[in-house]
Amino acid sequence: MSIFKKLIPPPEWRLPVLILMGAMTGLTLYALIESKAVSYLSDDPKTCANCHVMTPQYATWQNSSHREWASCNDCHVPQDNVFKKYLFKAKDGMYHASVFLTRGEPEVIRMKEAGVEVVQSNCIRCHEDQVTDARLSGLVEDHKENRTERKCWTCHQEVPHGSIHSLSSVKYYGKIDEEHQETVPAWLSKYLKESDNQKNKKDE
C-alpha cells in the first residue's frame, strides 16, 4: 500500500506521467506487433525469420542436415520444462525485439552465454545415446561429462549454420523463400483448385 503511494507522482506531474506511460505502453504494443513478437511463442522457424535479422540463420538451417529434425526452438529454447521454455522465449523475444527496433543488431550476431548453454544441452538431448556409451558410463568415471563438456560446434563447426556468420552472409537479405517465390503462381492455382478439390473428394 505504502509502496504504491510512493509511486504515485506529485499532482503537477500526473498529466505528463500519464502521457508518458501511455506512450510507453503504445510503443511496447507497437514493438510487439511490429516485430510479430507474439509469433515468438510458435515453433515455426519461419516466425523467427520474420525478423529479417534472422534470415542468415534461417537460410543456413534450411540447407542443413538438421532441417528435417530440429527447428530453431528445438535447439535454442530449453526443452526440459514447459514453464522454462516459455519464460526463456518471452525474455529472449522481448530482448531481440528491442534490439531490432533500436537497430542495435551487430553485423555478426553471437549467442550469449545463456543461449550457448541451452543449445549445448539440446544437442545432448538428441544425441546422448550416440555420443555417450551406456556401457562405458558404468565403467568410465565422468564418461558423460567428458563427452559433453566441450561445445559440440567447436568440432562440428558447420552444424547447422555453417561457418560464416554475418547479417550479410546471405544473398537475399530480408526475404525468406516464402516471400519471394511463387512455386505455383496465383492465377494458375486458382484454376487448379477445383480439380484438386475433386481429387480429394474422390479419395474420401
Binding site: 529479417h52 551487430p106 553485423e107 555478426v108 556468420h165 554475418s166 550479410s168 530480408g174
Partner: protein, 465 residues
Amino acid sequence: TERKMEAKFAYTPMVEIKKLEPRNEVWGENFPREFQSWSKTEQSDFKSKYNGSAEIDMLEVDPRLVVLWAGYGFAKDYNQSRGHQHAIDDLSNSLRTGGPTGPNDGPMPSTCWTCKSPDVPRLINEIGVNEYYSGKWASKGEEIVNSIGCANCHSEKSMKLTITQPALIEAFARQGKDITKASHNEMRSLVCAQCHSEYYFNKNLPESKGIPYLVFPWDEGQTVEDMEKYYDNVGHVDWTHKISKAKMLKAQHPGYEVFKMGIHGQRGVSCSDCHMPYKTEGGQKFTDHHIQSPLNNVANSCQVCHREEKEELIKNVFDNQDRIIENRDQLERLLVRAHVEAGKCWELGATEAQMKDILHGIRLGQWRWDYAAASHGGSFHAPVELGRVIGKGIDITQETRIKLAKLLMTLGFNGDVPYPAIETKEAAQKFIGLPMEKLEAEKEKFLKELRPKWQEAAKKREATY
C-alpha cells in the same frame, strides 16, 4: 514501416555518371553509403602494433632503412601507408618526388601517378598508355588530383568490378591468363592487385623504348625466387648502392603475391573480405569502403569467420607478426653490416673481380628482406612463406659476409668493421651523406608555389565536365 520499406527500396540513380568519371563525390550522389564509408579513409588515427592508418615515419622508427637504401630515393623519406584518400597528398609531400619547379623537372617519372588516382584511367583513355607514362611526374600535375577512388575499381555503367591497370592485364596476358575470365570472388582481390603488387619500370619495351613502362614481374611466377629470376634474366637494376656499390633491387609491396601464398588466400578468402567487409545497415547490404587495417574492425571482418574473442584474434595477428619481424629486423642488421663491410673493401682497394660474388649476394639478400618487409600485412597474410624467405635471406647475407670477412683479411684488414652510428634517422641520413635541408627546402617551395597552381588548373578543368 520504414525499416521494411528500406529493405525493398532499390537505388534509383540521382545523377548520370560519365565514363571514367574521376570525381568520387559525383559517384557518391548515387551511392551514398559506399561514398561515405570511402570518405573515412581520410581518418589517420588508428595505430596497431605494426600498422594502422596513422602517419608513421618508418625511417624514424627504423633508421637502418636509411643505410639499406643509401643512394636511392627511399633513404630520403618513407612512411607507413595511410588511407586511400591520402594517396595524392602523400605522393606530393614525399621527399622522394623532390621539388619540381616546372613540368619537366624533378626526379620521378609520370608513372609514379599510376596507383594514386582515378584520373589515371581517365588520362590513359584520353592520351594513350605510352603518352601517359612519358615525361616527368610534374608534367601531369594539373591532370591528376582525385585520390584513389571509384573509377579505379568500378565500371560506371554496371558498377561491376573492373581492372583499369594496364600492367595487371598485361602481366596476366604474358602468363597466358585472361583476366576477363576471373571470377567475381577473384575480382574481389584483383582490384587490389592492380596496385598492391611488386612492380618495376621497364624502359626497354620494344614498343615503348625509353619510356618507364609499368610492369609486374610475374612471368616466372610470384615467389621471391621467381621474381628474382625474372629480374636477373632481364638484367634489371633499381639502383647502385651508395656504400657497397651492389646492383640492388627494390621490392615494392608484393601484397597480392604474398597474400595468395597464405592460408586465407589458399582458401579463397579475398582482400575485400577483410579490408572491405560487407555491412548491413537498415536492411541494405553494402560493402564497407573504409579500407583500413582489419584490426580496427575485427567484429565485421574476422568474426564473420572466427568465433574467438576480438582480443584473441588480435593476439594471433601480433604473434605471427612478432615472430616474423624478429628475424626481419636481424636481417636488416646483417645487411647494414654487409654494406659497410663491402664499403671497407672498396676503400682498401678491392678489385671488381674480388667483389663480384659479394655484391650479387648483397643484392639477393636484400631483395629477400625487402620482399618480406615491403609486403605490408604479409607477416599475417602468409607468415610461413615469409619465415622461409627471411630465413633464406639471412643465409645468403651471412654467406656473403663470410666472403667479406675473408676478403677483408686478404686486403690486410683484421678487425671488425664497426657498425655505423645510426641511432636516429638524422644520424643515419648524415652517415650516408644526404643533404636533407636542401631537399626539404625544395619540397617546401614546390608545395607553396607549383602545387597550388596544379590544383587551380584542375579545378577549372573539372568545372567544364
